[in-house]
Point group: C2
Amino acid sequence: MNKKSFPLAKVYTLLETGPVVLISTSRKGIANIMTQSWHTMMEFEPPLVGCVISARNHSFDALKSTKECVINIPTVELAKQVVAIGNCSGRKVDKFARTGLTPVRASLVQAPMIMECYANLECRVADTRLVNSYNFFVLEVVKAWIVPAVKAPKTLHHRGKGEFMVAGDTVKLPSRMK
Amino acid sequence: MNKKSFPLAKVYTLLETGPVVLISTSRKGIANIMTQSWHTMMEFEPPLVGCVISARNHSFDALKSTKECVINIPTVELAKQVVAIGNCSGRKVDKFARTGLTPVRASLVQAPMIMECYANLECRVADTRLVNSYNFFVLEVVKAWIVPAVKAPKTLHHRGKGEFMVAGDTVKLPSRMK
């Protein structure tokens, strides 16, 4: 895999823009993937990510029982797979087989990383207090991987119903913000 | 104001892409604004938005005591103001005066809306269970306003340290996702 370890303190730079992500899980040896946009950074370091995984999703049970997942960040080249994954259920379909995406062993969690995504964040569940009310999990990123060559990733940002904004130009302004 | 009421059921289409937002508050008649990227949708309808407001921010106290705010969504034309707001504190500075942005009376909350932003979401605090641990507020959007002419807003998406990705092209794929 053409990826390198990425500093945990910089994980927020990958997620703060609000990209569509693919969340992979593994339960009893069966891997699954879901498409997800409802996530937010909650702390810089250790990086905490809050995300809503609907109880209607097959991934909900896997995450609740294994307490592990990988957040994979795709770019526009994977748009078809992103939509295909969002339109079928892991109850019925092997999503890796269906989409041709490649599972790669992670270093600290059982859930597989998706090779074709430019960044992979290995996560453990850190807080479940809002799971019953909102299906909201707080995840801690315990290990991060990135393709170092990708500087301005063409991430996807869902506007609803299969319409995506693709990451455009970069502007940089003098700022003391982190 | 050239804005129209926007259906609450569609609010997720405005926030799901992860734009930088300006959160306005009002406490004891004094308005304030903060720049914010750490937010996520949590429910479609009524729309719930989770967001982290650091206790270091002056806005934290206003939100905690008044339980009201407005989420304003700026576009790239406001990039300088977005950064300026993120680089000073409401403890010392009147941010409306400093940036020249225009406060407009909201319909259901005391916090002002920012006229120059293409969308404004009037919010009330709905859940504070994770405030002590993570400064994480669950907000309910009680009224939404939008400039109807803006179809593909050039929103800003923070990559950290004043570097922003600007919303680029739109791609649409057949999908059954909401």
